[in-house]
Symmetry: C2
Subunit: 192 residues, 2 copies
Amino acid sequence: MVAEFERYIKENVKLSDGDLELIRSVAVERTVRRKQLLLEEGEVCRHKIFICKGLLRTYRTRENGSEHVMMFSPETWWATDPESLNNQTPSLYYIDALEDSEVLLWTKKDFDMLCAQIPALKAYSEKLISINLNLGRQRIFSALSATPEEKYDEFVASYPNIFARIPLHMVASYLGVSLKTLSRIRQAQLKR
Amino acid sequence: MVAEFERYIKENVKLSDGDLELIRSVAVERTVRRKQLLLEEGEVCRHKIFICKGLLRTYRTRENGSEHVMMFSPETWWATDPESLNNQTPSLYYIDALEDSEVLLWTKKDFDMLCAQIPALKAYSEKLISINLNLGRQRIFSALSATPEEKYDEFVASYPNIFARIPLHMVASYLGVSLKTLSRIRQAQLKR
DNA sequence: TAAAAATAACGTCAAATGTCCGCATTTTAC
DNA sequence: GTAAAATGCGGACATTTGACGTTATTTTTA
């Protein structure tokens, strides 16, 4: 399971063998079964999660119980609730597995230590944050300005790999439209 | 004009007198008239902007010319396009002044230098980024799950100060609803 | 101060969207 | 292997929303 992470991290961060060993030494391996939760609302998020294999979903609910998908995390991506993790406050999010998955976990304490020891990792971590910020902005703009069909097309084009692996009602939830609307869009596109 | 910034920064970052002087020495003061642009689509964003006085708006347009407000920045807030600033790529955004404003500007180069020299500033900058990330997430969740009326109520409650200073059609644009819908909501609330 | 622009409400109408329902098919779990 | 659950389509209906045009009022600008 660690092999996937090694490949990923070597591609993205220039590390000495010692650095890599250090990072690995504080990582915890874990397998997660489909539908299993890694984080629950109200709980304090304890880890940064790297997905070696599988697919995670981060979502949030409203008082009425409706679920709203914030993010999908397939292999070689990360998942966590940074707000809860950094501030040690109860999380508003759920993270669960859409497929049986293999993940690596780091506690905040250990990850902070790693960043302090390994400047290149710290820099990469900052880069990821900045990418996330941009993706978030893009999504807000899309939510404000795009039609449901445009949102759908964007999603399929941006995440073809993920798209094929998740049920449509979760795509709808991610896009902020009803499954009904998504069905209609797909029907209309089929007829062309 | 610098006085506002001094008060702000002293409240939030522990700085030596020398640090403060250094930060000030590379800042450029500028006054902006209402409707004037500080950043235009296609241009590379050159500055981090601190608003001492006034109100800025960051927005983006679609091919059809529609405007979508990403952010309002009143006094003691910041504005910039981090993506364009960091990567020196053409921006997708406009930044303009909704009121006659007074701002301080730092180039990326100078701000990077400041962060390298002053760890406390770097840390604060990171904290701001993380706050922004959380606000972005919150807004996405709201876009996905809230009704127009809930979005409106949230906005008024969260930014009462800003709300009173901007035209309703810009509130509507920020919320991602039409002015018509916003009018209806307000009328309905008046009748209660 | 007068003309022009911006702002926001309102009415009407058509289109888009959501909710609720059932149904068929596939997938999952015991 | 079978029962149960999940998935996704479709119809009917009510509601919401947006587009467009009009008007009144306020604000800006020359």
